[in-house]
Symmetry: C2
Subunit: 254 residues, 2 copies
Amino acid sequence: MSSKPKVWTAGMLVIGDEILSGRTHDKNIAQVASWLQVQGIRLTEARVVADDMTAIGEAVTALADRYDYVFTTGGIGPTHDDITVDAIAKALGVPVVIHPDARAILYAYYKDRPGGLTEARLRMARVPEGADLIPNRMSGAPGIRLGKLFIMAGVPHITAGMLDALTGTLEGGAVLLNETVGCWVAESEVADVLREVEKAHEDCMIGSYPFFRDGRVGANFVIRSTSPEVLASAVDTLCEALGEEGYDFTPGGI
Amino acid sequence: MSSKPKVWTAGMLVIGDEILSGRTHDKNIAQVASWLQVQGIRLTEARVVADDMTAIGEAVTALADRYDYVFTTGGIGPTHDDITVDAIAKALGVPVVIHPDARAILYAYYKDRPGGLTEARLRMARVPEGADLIPNRMSGAPGIRLGKLFIMAGVPHITAGMLDALTGTLEGGAVLLNETVGCWVAESEVADVLREVEKAHEDCMIGSYPFFRDGRVGANFVIRSTSPEVLASAVDTLCEALGEEGYDFTPGGI
């Protein structure tokens, strides 16, 4: 028997009062999750905490203890509520230093803008000692990599640019593939079918996601596996079973 | 000196592979957060975990240890991947039982629907022993309350109905008020102003949320306080300072 391949895991920390007040809908969990899937890394847990030194430090430490990678978003801007770097450095017991390359990037970015590189803007060059930079082609201020930690922006399109810069640079494992089968049925009617198809296929997970649309109930069944063969077989078996029972189903999802 | 009033806190757990795969954007954190604000309760931390017994149990236990209330969303439907009740009961060391009122609700809901109250549907009447029900006027299956724990649906409009049923029933404290001031400015230009206004007002927090719109940079500054007087004073001071420096600002936000 071959040993099972390593599954690479990630934890994520979303930092910001604005998410916990309900003012802002987080978009970064879904964005980072989708990106990680393609890198062969599974987002296993996400947390959201306020702009609070202790809460950030504790969460980063807990996630770093558990997962291969940790991604944070938020709190790396120029204002007083941007304390992510300080909180992480304190939790790791390392000093905060000005990264010379970050300072050069910010100098170039702001030199022709009103005010130039002010002290507030220079805050964005501060990193935990020993860190590398993650390029940000959107707005100058870079993200920060420190070992397994990736400290990124909170504004989603800037985060997207940082993820793009990281694409292909992280070690990962087998990509978790997925296919969706949609069906106009109350999921409770096919609960047994779903359970049996999942059981019959090792390395296969089936999630059921009900919806209400145009006055009808339906559900999308998402089948996941790292093996293309297992995935194809599970999808076939599920479609066959749904067809036999006379349900109106759509490979690809509804 | 008067002692500080108690701040009521809540933790939240979002349960579901679909959020961690990036397939589904969570809407419940923002929804629960906004609702809690009005109840005078602060959402202090949110976590997202997969449909995994151990992960759910550990997270619920950790959040219940830290906060006055814990809200979960997801994993209480009729299919095999709906394991929230089992995971929480196991973590608490109590058995899972059929709640007679939940059975009666489901019986009434399904009796004229194809298949009636099947075994899969009856799963939705299972609760940790000792629990009460949270009414669900959208789709029959109730939510569950067990002491400080509130176990709710994952589908956002059903969650909304459950929150509505809970409105005004939870003990809370002073509502955290907020006002927004928008300004067409790079937040880094006014970082000092923001810091000083916050410092000058006790029980006041100012968050800065930059944006890029119509080719211009701007930011919304959200001022929060439990005191209407402090809030009004902080907003006035901020607007005055922005006006003095010649910035184009808009009370109410941009």
